[in-house]
């Protein structure tokens, strides 16, 4: 168990290193001198300015040394200075992370609660309910978030005026974005729940439980849902991790000032220090969440505790 966790964490670190290397190395993949790339579309490139960039990125050192420096700086919280905002990247992030986290958390609550409930309902009720849930969720996964966002804004924001449009901070502000973000996820979770429960329900041990006279409610909760928990939790974790990236679209569509909009802005302004930092942050969060989910598996499935 402990060695398992240790190995997982080691794998996590290795993946993180590799991804950070990709993020860092990307600047070198760009055609031309990295310094011009890193300077972005900035006007009036003075020699001092270029020198400053060279210094910030230690461009005169060997590549690997540069990378390690950059990584060291990043680990200690020094993510450089934004080219667009003259501000420290770390400060920019710090100001925006709460919005993004709030959004993801809100969406996660929504999709877990409603996704599992809908999926369970479909699996248990079957028939029309099932068909309706399946059709609804198939549709929900098929409408791109930015279209959903546009629709929600125009309906609930503009036409009905129930929700504020733009701005941020309060839970109220985050509601429409969170719904948008949660919608696709909700569909996935409800399908996984439904699928897992249907599969569980067909297993012999459920029949055995039924044949022993247990009530249907007990069978659904104790056996079907319990057995389906593994895939459900795994998927919830993966989807939550994926939501981090989903915020890019949703925040842009709702004009929320979070990490996602920062990223889009940074790319459009060739603000590479910010791009790097946001990517690093999102990837780290993603890997952390997925690793956590994997580590949680043995808690759900005793079979995962022993063995490889």
């Amino acid at each position: 168990m402990v060695t398992r966790a240790a190995r997982k964490v080691a794998g996590l670190v290795a993946t993180l290193l590799a991804t950070s290397f990709v993020i860092f190395g990307a600047a070198y993949a760009a055609p031309g001198d990295p310094v011009t790339f890193l300077a972005g579309g900035k006007e009036n490139l003075t020699p001092e300015y270029l020198a400053a960039i060279r210094a910030q990125y230690h461009l005169d050192d060997p590549f690997l040394v540069q990378y390690l420096r950059w990584l060291g700086d990043a680990v200690t919280g020094d993510l450089g200075r934004s080219l667009k905002y003259s501000d420290q990247v770390a400060d920019l992030l710090a100001a925006r992370v709460p919005t993004t986290l709030g959004l993801v958390a809100y969406a996660a609550v929504l999709f877990v609660v409603f996704g599992v409930a809908l999926g369970a309902l479909a699996a248990v009720r079957g028939g029309r309910t099932d068909a309706a849930v399946v059709a609804g969720t198939t549709f929900a996964t098929s409408v791109p978030p930015f279209v959903v966002a546009t629709g929600l804004i125009s309906l609930f924001g503009v036409q009905l005026g129930w929700f504020p449009v733009g701005g941020g901070g309060s839970l109220w502000h985050l509601t429409l974005p969170a719904i948008t973000l949660a919608l696709g996820a909700l569909a996935i979770i409800s399908r996984v729940t439904r699928q897992a429960m249907v599969e569980q329900r067909e297993l012999d041990h459920v029949t055995v439980a039924r044949a022993s006279g247990l009530s249907e409610r007990l069978i659904v909760v104790r056996h079907v849902l319990r057995g389906a928990l593994g895939p459900i939790v795994t998927m919830c974790g993966l989807v939550t991790a994926g939501l981090l990236a989903g915020t890019v679209t949703v925040e842009s569509a709702f004009q929320l000032s979070g990490v996602g909009t920062l990223l889009v802005g940074a790319i459009n302004t060739h603000d590479f220090p910010v791009t790097q930092a946001v990517l690093l942050l999102m990837v780290t969060a993603y890997i952390a969440v997925t690793t956590l989910v994997e580590l949680a598996q043995p808690l759900i499935d005793p079979r995962a505790r022993s063995g490889a």
Binding site: A18, A29, P144, F146, V147, R191, Q195, V239, G242, A245
Partner: protein, 278 residues
């Protein structure tokens, strides 16, 4: 990430037929755009600015008075070829990598898995975003980058089914007959996985279409004056302020309908596959 959930086989195939019909219509529209589109996709007609549904403009017109129906028809080309190209890239690489990993196992598998893990660690569109950040915006960059981003997904999927498939004695039988590994993989293993992979690709197609549209919406993908659907939504947003919803609604609905159709078909294919497996 994608989940292919299977649905009860007792479902009426009506949805499936509708979806197939819609797709046929869209593909035909894309191919025949020059013939059937009432206007050129870029034809500006200021007299028709933000025209509502009308006989002249069946689906209305955008801010520049460009006919939305014509733009949708022409846009279907980019919007369909884009995902097709990216899936072509992703499936060639992914199937090769996945099969390789499943067949040779050992360090080859470990290596391939590590590489795909790193790619996987870039959630959603982030890898594409990185590539776009470095190589600049544009549909080609977006397609290639998305192709690479989808590679690990397909590789993982292929690896999983290849491992199940390799465990089946008929593969052993080929080996016992003296067939070379390469030949077994290329001639027998891959063809036998083809159904599953194609079913998966159908669902991925919808997703790819959506991803590309999202990129265009964010300004990273197709660039004006292309009539890519995602871009049309982006451009149409300005019209919403003026109370005109068609420029957003029409391309938004087009994306949603096509993706729904692919999902309906994909899910049904997955169903059929699941039913076939003993």
């Amino acid at each position: 990430m994608t989940v292919v959930a299977t649905l009860p086989s007792a479902r009426r195939p009506l949805g499936f037929q509708l979806a197939a019909a819609l797709l046929v219509l869209v593909v035909a529209g894309a191919v025949l755009a020059p013939v059937v589109a009432p206007y050129a996709p870029d034809a500006v007609d200021f007299a028709a600015t933000l025209s509502p549904l009308s006989p002249e403009h069946l689906l209305g017109a955008d801010q520049s008075g460009r006919d939305l129906l014509s733009r949708i028809l022409y846009g279907a080309r980019t919007s369909l070829i884009g995902p097709l190209a990216l899936l072509a890239i992703a499936s060639v690489l992914g199937v090769a990598l996945g099969t390789l990993a499943a067949w040779w196992r050992g360090w080859v598998d470990a290596f391939v898995s590590r590489v795909t893990d790193v790619m996987y660690a870039f959630p959603g569109l982030l890898f594409v975003v990185l590539v776009v950040a470095v190589f600049g915006n544009g549909i080609t960059t977006a397609v290639v980058a998305l192709g690479l981003a989808y590679t690990p997904t397909i590789a993982k999927y292929t690896r999983a089914i290849a491992i199940t498939e390799c465990a089946k004695p008929y593969i052993d039988a080929y080996r016992v007959q003296g067939m070379s590994g390469l030949r077994i993989c290329v001639r027998h293993l891959v063809p036998n996985m083809a159904r599953s992979i194609v079913g998966y690709l159908v669902v991925l197609f919808g997703e790819g279409l959506m991803s590309l549209a999202t990129l265009s919406f964010l300004g990273f993908g197709a660039q004006p004056p292309s009539s890519d659907w995602g871009l049309m939504v982006k451009e149409g947003q300005a019209a919403m302020v003026q109370g005109a919803f068609l420029p957003v609604l029409v391309p938004g609905a087009a994306i949603a309908l096509v993706v729904v159709s692919f999902n309906v078909i994909g899910v049904r294919l997955a169903d059929r596959l699941a039913a076939r497996r003993p």
